[in-house]
Amino acid sequence: MDYSALLAAGEHALSLWPLLSLLAGVTLGLVVGSIPGLNDTITLAVLVPITFAMPSDVAFPLLVGVYCAACFGGAFPAILLKIPGTASSVLTAVDGHAMVKQGLAGRALGIATYSSCFAGTLSALVLVFFAPLLAQYALKFGPAEYFSLCVLGLSTVVGMGSGNVMKCAFSCLLGLLVAMVGLSPESGYPRFTFDNFWLLEGLPLTPILIGLFGLSVVIEMLCRDAGATAEAEVEHRTPIRFRDMLLPWSLVRRLMPTWLSASALGNVIGILPGAGMLVAIYMAYERVRRRFGERCGQGLPEGIAAPEAANNSVVASSMVPLLSLGIPGNSTSALFLGALLIQGLRPGPSLFNDSPDVAWLIVICFVFANLVMFPLGLLLARFVPNLIRAIPQPLLAAAIAGLCFTGAFAIGNSVFGIVVALVFGVVGFVFNRMQVPLSPFILALVLAPVVERAFFQSMALSGGSPLYFVTQPLSAAMLTFTALFLLWPLFKRHFFKSRRSLAAD
């Protein structure tokens, strides 16, 4: 490890222009992250060609800033309006908005800020020190392992939605069914497309999210009766002060174990291309649910801390395969690949030898971006909610609808996105009314293509033998965990019953 290069890069990053561009990047990231439909990928796609003209020590701080902050920015609308700004804040909305309803908006935003920055910094440090090691581990994940990881991820839905297993299973299966639409990854055969080419590649994820979370809230606002308006009045009366957002030491100590376990999950699972981000936040949340049971989903601090810590860990760790192996882990790091190439650099094992200054600068920017995010995040949290509250409900509903439609259109430059968003807006509204949790639906929707592809790949490799999944050690281990996850409630009941009967004797 070349500490002098690291120190030099740190010093370089703190000089005027790199620091200014990092600040600009983080600010921009917070803004686009908090607008549903805009995300880091779109922003980077627009920015990368512009970075041509910039020296590398201005270009990379900017891009890293956007990437880190967009993920965190998604938490703001998730908490305040129950509309996740990005897919990564889907679960933050659950407990976050519940806290807002209890008049604890400041506290909720504070927890999100603390969690994001703490976990983000931690995983940036992991990126600094352990990137090559983690990259080698990521390579061990083949088709069988991906399959088992997805099965493990899907098994977490059992506990969602305050324990109503039937409703969760329904939501999850519906998600899998919707994911069926489109070309089969194995045979290329079109499924449920009705000869409509818009459906060939399946329903687009972002408009679905915008509909389920954004438009459903708008419909909800329109249906709100007088009683609910009174409830909204209560929220209005509590402007947020900085004081509310700073967490007392006792709470920090209480959340520390959640932060650590969630960022460990984020670091380990997040480096896996494709499945990483969502599986990490769902598993982190599942851990919290196991610990707190019923209280989860009703404004539990850990319910915000776990997903926010996990998703910000994934941001830095998704750079591991790119910087160490030259393989982009997701579409955003593919854009980073483009940005590196433009600057005449090629990511991969040789990057740190050939151009250590830029390589270390990028890595160190991840650390600084997360640190800068803290004050900027608090500043935003101080003013934006008060601004939102100043807007009358009908206007706010109209503004959200406008943003939702713009985002749904922008993602594919087509009206089809708006149609999808509208349909799923109604679906989301009905789900909410029936108290069917939306999160199993999202997880199933995202994991279905991954699990299906992994299944067929495994079958191609094994010559059609399902035993393949248990003969691969890593995969077998994850399947065992899944079985334990699913059967634990049965064991637990049996265990407690025998203890109780023992006590009775």
Binding site: A45, P185, F197, G326, L335, G338, P449
Partner: protein
Amino acid sequence: MTYRLTRLSLHTRLPLALMAATLAAPLYAADYPSQNIDYIVPFDAGGAVDFTGRLIAEAAPDVFDGHQFIVKNMPGGGAVIGQTYVSKAPADGYTLLAMTSSVINNALTKEVSYDLDSFTPLALYNLDPGVVVTAADSELTDLQSFLDAASNGDVSIATPGNSTSHHITAVSLAQQNDLGFRYVHNASAAMQLQQLMGGHVQAGFMSLGEAVGPAEDGSIRILAVMDSQRSDLAPDVPTWQELTGEEVQWGTFRGIAAPADLPEDVKVALEERLGQLLTSPAFIERMNEAGYQVNYRDGDAFREYLDSTADKMEQVLPTLDTAS
């Protein structure tokens, strides 16, 4: 008399019009371009087509009288959505398509409303020949050992997806040489690389541009390039033909097309300006820096290339359904 007058007035008007045109852009149709041009990328942001498209957009205002190329991503349906959109767009030169081999695949394998004749090819700017790769620590160290292994039984190969041109290449080669492949379909070159480097599959079919970097790092080995001659990007890699004597040319390409029935003056203007842009030293330097070669061909040469590729694919496709 009237006739003379009209001629005279034309004589006085023409130089004026020409002068105006000279100021704007010499030798081109006077009224094109008069507004920004939509450049439709039928894929998500971040891929090679999107990326090179944005390089073109960056250089466009200099050549198009200050008018911009607006890059619009229209992903979906394996590029069908963006391609359909352009095929149905007005043929006025203000909607262009980032044209790739998927236009041919889609027209042949899917129920789409367009074919090659629905487009006016304007320029080809990048050719990326196909390659066969194995992991660096694989026992398949050269093409011969790869062919031996594949003819004895089955070699697992990673493709970037069903019915992609790389999958079709593999099917075609297997058919011609009686090879046995187990197809592991992925969704991107990145996933192929990960499976190769992790030792989950034995070999892969991908584009040279995607393989050069990892090969230089020593994590994968390129066995052969499927082109008529060696590439400047990897001069040490032999061609398939050198090693087997069999002429094999497969690859992906990136070009620019407009809807069919483009007015002749607009077509000429577009071809000339795009030619000027794509061969400018500044653009070529940008492309090279980013790891892409510029292989410029004008509209007619591009059309020829498209037709010959379509012919080759049509020969293989009937076998695709059974070979997946």
